[in-house]
């Protein structure tokens, strides 16, 4: 087991390194000059040249990458060209907001997905199944940025139940788990939860329906176990797969929140990415993508490590 974890950890290193290269190189695909953001519209050439060397943009690309990586491992992702602030502090505060949103959305999605999926799988072919399948199809089909708009109009403008934007009355820096803050979280979290809800419903439904037909479940019945006990067995058997799917989905939420964050002005990475892209703020773009991917890699790692704990057939 220990060596499995170690192996998995070691395997994550080249992945993480490749991710840094990709994140770094990505912005070099971009046309146009990254300096546009920093310099005012009519800045003279000498100002621009000075800025260029100040930001290290005059060195060859591999050197830039090396310097960037070296600083990145020390927790320094450079300074944002647009805001002049440390990218790390920018990204970290945004990432924590995104994680909050993605975490809550993931939780909602996984919870409802599991419950709906289990019900649908158990009454395979029945009306509960039909309702759950219908909901899951909607979940995976709805353009969530559009859903966000619709929900805002209905629930915050017409009904006035929830705020329309932002991360709480005092901003994200004063996050509290109180009524006022949770109110701000509800609409974006629900909007974001729809996709994982749909996907997990489908996964769990298929798993449970399939599991119920498996020999070992029939054998469990033959042993005279109660439905509750059998449910426990099924839950433990489906857990590894559900964990893997849920992990992946929550990971996707971290990237997928960009659209929803735009709609709800949620101060997360999506918001940051949007700014970074449209202002061509290279260090910020690189840093955001890098940090998000690292979280994603880490999440996958955790899932990979947890999975054999749940399923004795995997790992050693």
């Amino acid at each position: 087991m220990f060596s499995y974890i170690l192996k998995r950890l070691l395997y994550a290193i080249p992945i993480a390194l490749s991710v840094t290269v990709l994140s770094f190189m990505l912005v070099y695909l971009a046309p146009g000059d990254p300096l546009n953001a920093i310099a005012p519209a009519d800045a003279p050439a000498d100002v621009i040249a000075a800025l260029k060397s100040a930001y290290g943009l005059d060195k060859p690309v591999p050197v830039q990458y090396g310097m960037w990586l070296l600083r990145a491992v020390q927790g320094d992702l450079g300074t944002s060209i647009a805001s002049g602030r440390q990218v790390v502090t920018e990204v970290m505060s945004a990432v924590s907001n995104t994680l909050l949103l993605a975490g809550v959305a993931g939780f909602i999605g996984v919870l409802f997905g599991c419950v709906l999926g289990a019900l649908a799988g158990y009454w395979h072919g029945g009306w509960i199944d039909r309702i759950a399948t219908f909901l899951s199809v909607i979940g995976v089909s709805v353009p969530h940025y559009w859903l966000g708009l619709v929900l805002t109009i209905i629930f915050s403008i017409w009904l006035g139940w929830f705020p329309a934007m932002g991360a709480g009355p005092g901003g994200s820096s004063e996050w509290l788990w109180d009524y006022e803050h949770i109110r701000h979280l509800i609409l974006p979290a629900i909007t974001l939860a729809v996709i994982p809800m749909g996907i997990i419903t489908r996964t769990v439904r298929a798993l449970v329906a399939d599991m119920l037909e498996q020999e070992f479940v029939i054998a469990l019945r033959a042993r005279g176990l109660s439905n509750r006990a059998i449910f426990r067995h099924i839950a433990k058997n489906t857990a590894p797969t559900v964990l893997a799917v849920a992990g992946l989905q929550i990971g996707y939420l971290m990237g997928g929140s960009i659209l929803v964050e735009t709609v709800f002005a949620w101060p997360g990475t999506g918001f940051l990415l949007n700014t970074a892209i449209f202002q061509r703020d290279m260090p910020l773009l690189q840093g955001t993508i890098l940090v998000l991917c690292m979280f994603f890699v880490g999440l996958n790692l955790i899932v990979d490590i947890l999975q054999p704990l749940l399923d004795p057939r995997m790992g050693r």
Partner: protein
């Protein structure tokens, strides 16, 4: 002798009414019997037709508007679905918009299907080191959440339809490769592949005759499932301003530009989003239908 050795006399297996039936035609037949899938297919078909034949079907020029007639409600005279913020006919724009939206949604899936299947077949059939290298490289792409990857690539390449398509293709290729590779690896281990190898046929012939047919199915199912994801993502990129550029009609972009009209004319403003939604549901239900139709064990 009490028991005949004459094999020809046996008729135990009932003769099927039409013995010659190809797999795909059987799948199609199965699909035809699925009312949900057929409804979905019909809806998708209508939407595709409306898009493809937009130049002939659209009642008006999708680019031409009039300020006096802006944001007319649904059902206005001469404007069946109302007008947009520049007084352009919504119906015509939605039809033309379907062309770009579908193009942006379907092209990446098609491209990824072609590219991904080829790479996956190669990796799966050759196996060994080639497989390892290919799959490890893909793992790196997997370290990016897909939406982030799409946004990052099209953000880096700059807005535009081609860039969006390119970005989405890059997002889907690794996924398709994984499916194709795992199916190929499974199929390759089957006895009938060994039997074909015993016949001394070339690797190419084996792949073409024995592997491809059996890999294509699952990959096809997976790819149909991607259609809706692709549609939503493509429109999402346009929504963010990373996709199609105005004044081209495209659903995601229309959704964005019509957003602020939501109070003045909610139904018109909701139309592009609704269309993305409906098309996506159609693709999803169709994919589900195809999946269960292809799963014929009977």
């Amino acid at each position: 002798m009490a028991f005949s050795l004459n094999f020809a006399s046996q008729v135990a297996v009932p003769v099927l009414p039409t013995p010659a039936r190809g797999y795909w035609s059987k799948v199609l037949r199965q699909l035809m019997r699925d009312p949900v899938a057929m409804t979905a297919a019909l809806v998708v078909f209508l939407i595709v037709c409306a898009a493809v034949f937009a130049p002939w079907l659209a009642p008006m020029d999708p680019y031409k508007g009039s300020m006096i007639k802006r944001l007319l409600p649904i059902g206005s005279e001469g404007y069946l679905l109302g007008t947009d913020e520049l007084g352009r006919d919504m119906l015509s724009r939605l039809m033309y918009g379907g062309r770009l939206s579908l193009l942006m949604g379907v092209t990446p899936v098609l491209a990824a299907f072609g590219i991904g299947t080829s790479i996956g077949l190669l990796a799966g059939y050759v196996g060994g080191r080639v497989n390892m290298v290919i799959m490890r490289v893909l793992d790196v792409f997997y370290a990016f959440p897909s939406v982030l990857l799409a946004v990052a690539i099209s953000g880096a390449l700059g807005p535009g339809m081609t860039n969006s398509i390119l970005a989405l293709t890059l997002v889907f290729v690794p996924q398709v490769v994984r499916v194709a590779e795992s199916v190929t690896t499974q199929v390759r281990k089957l006895d009938y592949i060994e039997a074909a190898r015993m016949s001394g046929a070339s690797a190419f012939s084996i792949i073409r005759v024995h592997v491809l047919g059996n890999v294509l199915g699952p990959v096809f199912v997976y790819a149909t499932g991607l259609l809706s994801v692709s549609m939503i993502l493509a429109a999402g990129l346009s929504f963010l301003g990373l996709g199609v550029k105005p004044p081209e009609p495209e659903w995601g972009l229309m959704l964005n530009t019509l957003r602020s009209a939501i109070f003045r004319n909610p139904w018109v403003a909701a139309l592009p989003g609704l269309l993305i939604f409906i098309t996506s549901i159609g693709f999803n239900l169709l994919a589900d239908g195809v999946r269960s139709a292809m799963d014929i064990r009977r």
